[in-house]
């Protein structure tokens, strides 16, 4: 999907682009996933601490994730155009911290930034690396609306499977070795 694990730079702020939240999409998301009155009903929301309708935090971060996926896709296309093979992004094991620091109102334009703050080889998945990602989101006035620390998997280009593992894999492909395949 993107660059290979080895080529991903640390501590470089990558602009993921911006999204303007409309009242109708805020209500549509909340209706499905977060039907609290300040995400659903502009009239009732006037009584809330926000003084009006605001986006569900889960909506704001889901859009942030979409922005990241789009950016990775665009980067993969650029790499292919240069005649190279792009790297592979894997699923995420989790989020260590997510802080909603200011509300998102209809009409707000939120800009997302990704910074890879650390990376290491995965212990559990040979051939893969772990990326420690920070995503920051700011509104049009420069006020931060959330900050998150997430973990992602990224494939290692330079990974060489150890001899023992290659032998085991070759053996498991021989007829009569089905039990080994089941075990692994």
């Amino acid at each position: 999907m993107t660059r290979w694990f080895e080529d991903i730079p640390l501590d470089e702020a990558i602009d993921l682009g911006a999204h303007t939240f409309t009242a109708s999409e805020i209500v549509a998301f909340a209706t499905r996933y977060d039907p609290q009155y300040f995400h659903l009903d502009p009239e009732a929301a006037r009584h809330s601490i926000f003084g009006g309708l605001v986006a569900s935090g889960w909506h704001t971060i889901s859009i942030g994730h979409r922005k990241m996926v789009d950016r990775l896709d665009a980067e993969a296309d650029a790499i292919r155009q240069l005649g190279d093979e792009p790297g592979v992004s894997g699923p995420s094991p989790g989020v260590s911290s997510m802080r909603f620091t200011a509300p998102v109102y209809p009409g707000d334009t939120i800009r997302y930034t990704l910074t890879v703050t650390g990376k290491r080889h995965s212990h559990s998945l040979p051939g893969w690396g772990l990326l420690f990602n920070r995503i920051d989101a700011h509104n049009q006035s420069g006020v931060q609306v959330y900050t998150a620390d997430l973990v992602g998997f990224s494939k290692r280009r330079d990974y060489v499977m150890p001899l023992g593992m290659r032998l085991a894999l070759a053996l498991s492909n021989l007829p009569g070795m089905k039990w080994l395949r089941k075990k692994s």
Partner: protein, 165 residues
């Protein structure tokens, strides 16, 4: 000042550490998975069954953000909809422990793990909950610790000990 929307709901003083709430059940279909992925998480392993079989997850699986959004919905339906909540502060230690595959039925448990007065606003408290989402085999798919602000009935002047944590 009383909020007419939340007047009849449970307030900060009404909540008890250790209370648990069952979440779900909710079955997730292939269409649910692809619909959410198209909008928010268009990785091939959430969109395309063939690509998904070749991925780390071994089959079409829901976006982790979708599992989280569904957990939130189950929490609002089971508990938060009856609480004078003022919004979410965030969450910690979210772990996607096992992929959620098509036709999985999710259920779970929410447990109140923390209640403290807000340091900045004595009219409200901070509610912390541990959420665990499981599939139909009882295997844990996702856990997280969620924090919400909740209206208090009575304002509390700050005393010694109130600033704990």
């Amino acid at each position: 000042m009383t909020n007419p929307i939340t007047r009849g709901r449970r307030h900060f003083e009404d909540l008890v550490i250790g209370e648990t709430f069952p979440l779900g059940p909710k079955t997730i279909t292939r269409e649910d998975i692809i619909g959410f992925a198209r909008e928010f998480d268009p990785f091939p392993f959430h969109l395309d069954e063939k690509a998904a079989r070749q991925s780390l997850l071994g089959g079409l699986s829901a976006s982790g953000w979708q599992t989280g959004a569904l957990a939130l919905r189950m929490l609002v339906d089971a508990f938060l909809g009856d609480v004078a909540t003022m919004g979410g502060l965030g969450f910690d230690d979210l772990k996607w422990k096992r992929p959620v595959m098509k036709n999985d039925t999710l259920s779970g448990t929410a447990t109140i793990t923390g209640l403290r007065r807000s340091r900045s606003n004595p009219d409200c408290g901070v509610l912390t909950m541990h959420l665990e989402v499981r599939n139909q085999r009882g295997e844990t798919a996702m856990v997280l610790d969620l924090s919400n602000l909740v209206e208090a009935r009575k304002s509390e002047t700050r005393e010694i000990g109130d600033a704990a944590q």
